[in-house]
């Protein structure tokens, strides 16, 4: 075919320009290590890379959430551990007080100990995170949730909120726990029912909840607001006692109670035997006197602080010489029960937080696996295959050099240079 001189030169030029642009692209890939420099190079890959990068970003902040959640839970668990230790110390004090023989001086020193423990407990309940948020305040994180009032009572001004945090797409776990459920909502007595002695008792007896014979019966009594009174009176024989258990709505002695009063159990009292009624088992330690009475009702919520305060007031009751009075003994027994319930409540909170913590940790493991998978996928999508690219690069360079040499030769090829007219 006939070829025009211009075409001859232009054709070679175009080939060289094509090779140069090729080399430029390859050079860029080698320099940046990335094959995906522009969405046009691999549109589907570019979209996928963006999605994978987005997923990677999400896994990163989920893992940051998990770390923050772990920290928050560990803060909570740490404080709860200290609270447990404190409760154990108070328990020892209470057992010491229940021991019966002690001087007024010892008692007053125990009062100081318990009051100190109460303050320490308030301090623990008001624990703050590093940046000043209160751990157990619910959502009211900026104001101190527990205030110790001058009358020794503690008031909770937080709320029942608990914060959750996302640790995996659409998976949220609670990372805080409200102080209300830990410190304020503790059932008194043995958790099912409680016993209190009448202030006018003269006998030596102390009544304690010994067991539950029917939980459903107690629940029904709780809903109905039923209370019981165990009253002792002199029996027919010398020194014998009979007991009568009456039930009614409202507190014994009140008009409502009197109106609905009815005897549910009665009999002669044998020292050391249990009195059973309304699904409850009440045990008396020591001998009651005729005219003594005990009030029994389903458990109510009380606070750990109130339990401590009750221990203080029990210790402040006048003793009978070096012996603790039965009234104080009754109160201390109730405190011991209350401390057990508080321990249960703390354990429950620790278990809840611990379960959340282990969920976070297992999800964190999955997150990091997913994250490294995504990283691998992303790098496959966008990293240049360097051996391949380098090989292509040298091929293109060789081709360009050859084309340039060829061009140098052919540009001399003209008939005009050889004919001499």
């Amino acid at each position: 075919m006939r070829i025009s001189t211009n075409e001859f030169l232009l054709g070679s030029l175009n080939d060289m320009l094509g090779l140069q642009s090729n080399i430029n692209t390859l050079n860029q890939e080698i320099a940046t290590g990335q094959s995906l420099v522009d969405p046009t190079t691999d549109p589907a890959g570019a979209g996928l890379a963006l999605n994978v990068a987005g997923q990677l970003g999400q896994l990163t902040y989920d893992s940051s959430n998990a770390q923050s959640g772990t920290l928050s839970i560990q803060n909570g668990l740490g404080v709860l551990q200290q609270v447990t230790t404190l409760i154990n110390q108070i328990r020892q004090t209470a057992e010491q007080a229940a021991n019966g023989t002690m001087t007024a001086q010892t008692r007053s020193s125990l009062v100081t100990t318990v009051q100190g423990a109460l303050q320490e407990l308030v301090q623990l309940a008001n624990s703050q995170t590093a940046d000043g948020s209160y751990l157990f305040a619910g959502s009211k994180a900026n104001s101190q949730p527990f205030q110790l009032l001058s009358n020794g009572q503690v008031q909770y001004s937080g709320d029942g909120a608990s914060n959750q945090i996302e640790i995996a797409p659409s998976l949220k776990v609670p990372v805080t726990i409200s102080g209300q459920s830990i410190f304020m909502n503790i059932p008194d007595g043995n958790g099912s029912f409680s016993v209190a002695a009448s202030g006018s008792n003269t006998g030596e007896a102390v009544a304690v909840p010994a067991g539950v014979t029917s939980a459903s019966q107690i629940a029904a009594e709780s809903q109905a607001g039923t209370q019981f009174e165990i009253a002792f009176s002199a029996g027919s024989g010398l020194g014998s006692l009979t007991y009568t258990v009456t039930s009614g709505t409202g507190s014994p002695g009140s008009a409502g109670f009197a109106a609905s009063e009815g005897v549910v159990a009665s009999g002669s009292y044998a020292t050391g035997s249990d009195i059973l009624f309304g699904g409850m088992d009440v045990r008396l330690q020591g001998t009651p006197a005729a005219g003594d009475a005990f009030t029994v009702q389903a458990s109510q919520n009380t606070s750990l602080f109130a339990t401590l305060q009750s221990l203080v007031s029990a210790l402040q009751l006048p003793g009978q010489g070096s012996v603790t009075s039965p009234l104080a003994q009754q109160q201390i027994q109730n405190v011991l029960g209350g401390l057990d319930q508080a321990q249960t409540s703390i354990l429950l909170a620790q278990a809840t937080l611990g379960a959340n913590l282990s969920e976070i940790q297992s999800v964190q493991g999955q997150d990091s696996t997913q994250s490294s998978n995504a990283q691998v996928q992303l790098s496959q999508l966008q990293s240049a295959n360097l051996p391949q690219v380098t090989a292509n690069y040298s091929e293109s360079v060789t081709a360009l050099q050859a084309a340039e040499t060829a061009f140098g030769r052919i540009q001399n090829l003209t008939l005009f240079s050889v004919i001499h007219a």
């Binding site: 070829i3 211009n6 522009d38 046009t40 959502s139 909770y156 709320d159 304020m184 109510q300």
Partner: protein, 658 residues
């Protein structure tokens, strides 16, 4: 005598023919680099001799014409290929520039996708610790950089559009200048062309070169006219050159005055914008629709982000205990009435449901049976009815005034959105991280504390915000007027409860089932979206008269609304996609278009190269060929001169003999 003078004459004719041949060769070599030059050669014929007794000898030679090597068919092919290739090259350059606005290297670092991820990561930091001022400030600054990136992307796209529009105007100007010149040359060619005569090669070369330049600007069809003239038409059939007359194109700002340049046919005023193809003009027009679609999509992202984040803000409480104010502000849809509208009615539009909104521009036309919407990009027509309120793809259109049949409007829902996205919230404490309400078991005491004396085992939990339409039957709804106050839910029996205001008056009451619990909802006041409620659930269980729960506004430590805001990252917010995947889809679409344009440009370049090779093989100058011709004419000249010299010798020999 006759014989000898004949010999001289023949030699002379040989001399002048060789001279003309050499002139042609010199002209060819001189024009070796002239664009549009067609190689020329002489047409040489033998002059017939007069008859003699022994037969006739020719009377020498004559150059009848100098003709250019030109093939009409190849030339036509060349014009068509040039126009197609020019459009493809423009497309390729522009689409690849457009795609490079959206970075993909290193997982799209520096792009909108990465900025969205950072924004939501910062939201999670606030959720981790809602009282932390640095976290809140960092979240706002991330929102700021996200908005800036939207603005710069938007303005880059807008600049591209302005450039494209002005290039269209430039191309139209070129087309008009070229058609005028071609018509003028047509006039000269026609004047020189008559019976037996043709116009000069240089004139034809010049005109044909201009036609080819015109093909660079616009797709044309060329048809040979009378007397050597050439008639040119656009690919849709509008005459650009007809003999000695040229017809110009004009650029107008379009029928809707929205800044889009339209190309019209000056003689009739007809809009040719959608019927032009090929050449720079065709390429620019085709690219413009891709540019607008990219603008629409980026705008769609901006609108979906702003409306989702703002709605979530309005559902939570800020550090001051107020419902959150909008975090972003963004321009709404723009409606342009056609200049030709006869009615005075206007249309306004708002994107009311971004999740079912599909970015795209529409032409809304009033027909006898109501409004119809035509998607400009896809051509799909939707019938909308008469109004006054119309709904279209997640948008609500409001018609006011009288719109006459035949009136039309152009609707650009999100074109202006990317550039207009700004952060309206400046105070970090205005970030609404807290849940509107939290639940605490117990009753509110006069001291403001909550004491729990509940006996039953019913639990109350706060759910998320919901639309009132989707609430289960029997849900107790507390009117919005009570929002932001402490509320108490108190059981009045095992199966019924009241919702009490902070002053203790009964606002609402409902029934409770021990087996399925109960639902309570508090209606949000403005600025929350109408119909939004905060939900609460009373768990199944045993309720006891007097059991209570306090619903109090979420405190500063609550992160309920912030986890919901952070969770927007995985919500389908735009056309059934999450923001991140909608962005990835946009980038993939732009990338594919760029790749298609690359392939098309390579193919059309190959076609042009082949056409050019063919055309050059016929019409191009080959210097070696010219060198050989030169030698050949030189030798012919020398030989013819020898003939004259021989005749002279013969003549003088004869004289000496006499």
């Amino acid at each position: 005598m006759t014989g000898l003078s004949q010999l001289v004459n023949i030699g002379l004719s040989g001399l002048s023919a060789a001279q003309e041949g050499m002139q042609t060769v010199s002209n060819n070599t001189a024009n070796v680099n002239t664009p549009g030059y067609n190689v020329e050669s002489i047409n040489q014929v033998e002059l017939p001799g007069t008859g003699g007794p022994s037969g006739s000898v020719g009377a020498g030679t004559d150059v009848t014409s100098i003709q250019r090597a030109f093939d009409q068919f190849v030339y036509q092919e060349m014009i068509g290929a040039t126009a197609t290739n020019q459009a493809a090259q423009i497309m390729q350059t522009n689409t690849s520039n457009l795609a490079s606005i959206f970075p993909v290297a290193s997982g799209g670092a520096g792009g909108l996708g990465a900025a969205l991820t950072n924004f939501f990561a910062a939201a999670n930091q606030v959720a981790q610790n809602p009282t932390s001022a640095p976290n809140r400030a960092a979240f706002l600054s991330n929102a700021q950089s996200l908005a800036s990136l939207f603005q710069s992307t938007g303005s880059e796209l807008a600049t591209n559009l302005t450039t494209d529009n002005s290039q269209i105007a430039g191309a139209v100007q070129q087309v008009n200048a070229l058609t005028q010149q071609i018509a003028a040359l047509n006039t000269q060619v026609t004047a020189q062309t008559g019976a037996g005569t043709t116009a000069s090669n240089s004139l034809l070369d010049q005109r044909d070169a201009l036609v080819q330049q015109l093909a660079q600007q616009i797709g044309i069809v060329s048809i040979a006219g009378t007397n050597g003239a050439v008639d040119l038409y656009t690919s849709s059939g509008a005459a650009l050159v007809n003999g000695a007359s040229s017809f110009s194109l004009a650029v107008t700002s379009g029928g809707y005055g929205d800044g889009t340049s339209e190309v019209t046919y000056a003689p009739t005023g007809q809009d040719l914008t959608n019927s032009l193809s090929g050449g720079t003009l065709g390429g620019l027009l085709a690219f413009r629709s891709q540019l607008v679609s990219a603008q629409d999509n980026v705008g769609g992202l901006a609108v979906a982000l702003a409306s989702a984040v703002n709605a979530q803000q309005s559902l939570g409480l800020d550090l001051n205990g107020n419902l959150g104010q909008p975090m972003f502000s963004v321009a709404g849809p723009t409606v342009y009435p056609a200049a030709a509208n006869t009615g005075s009615g206007t249309l306004s539009a708002a994107i009311t449901d971004p999740s079912s909104f599909v970015p795209g521009d529409f032409i809304l036309t009033k027909t006898a049976s109501g409004f119809s919407a035509t998607n400009i990009a896809t051509g799909q027509v939707t019938t909308l009815g008469n109004g006054p309120t119309l709904s279209l793809d997640g948008m609500t259109l409001t018609v006011s005034g009288t719109v006459q049949t035949g009136d039309s409007f152009k609707l650009e829902p999100t074109v202006a959105a990317p550039q207009s996205l700004t952060v309206a919230l400046t105070d970090p404490s205005g970030i609404a991280a807290a849940s509107p309400y939290v639940v605490t078991a117990g009753v509110l005491t006069s001291g403001g504390t909550i004491s729990d004396r509940n006996v039953g085992n019913v639990q109350a939990t706060a759910g998320g915000p919901a639309a009132s339409g989707g609430l289960p039957a029997g849900t107790v709804i507390v009117p919005a007027s009570n929002f932001d106050h402490n509320l108490t839910v108190a059981f009045t029996s095992a199966t019924s409860f009241n919702v009490l205001s902070s002053s203790g008056s009964v606002i609402a009451s409902g029934s409770f089932s021990a087996s399925s619990g109960a639902e309570i909802a508090i209606a949000y006041p403005a600025p929350a979206p109408a119909g939004e409620v905060a939900t609460f659930t009373l768990s199944p269980g045993t309720a006891v008269t007097g059991d209570s729960f306090v619903l109090s506004p979420g405190g500063v430590g609550s992160n309920g609304n912030m986890t919901a805001l952070a969770g927007l990252a995985t919500q389908t917010l735009l056309a059934g996609q999450t923001l991140g995947s909608a962005y990835a889809t946009l980038v993939t679409t732009l990338g594919s278009r760029g790749q298609e344009a690359q392939v098309a440009a390579q193919a059309s370049q190959a076609v042009v190269n082949r056409a050019q090779t063919t055309q050059q093989s016929i019409s191009g100058v080959n210097l070696d060929e010219e060198a050989a011709n030169l030698v050949s004419y030189q030798q012919a000249y020398q030989a013819a001169a020898q003939v004259i010299a021989a005749a002279q010798t013969m003549f003088s020999s004869l004289l000496q003999a006499v």
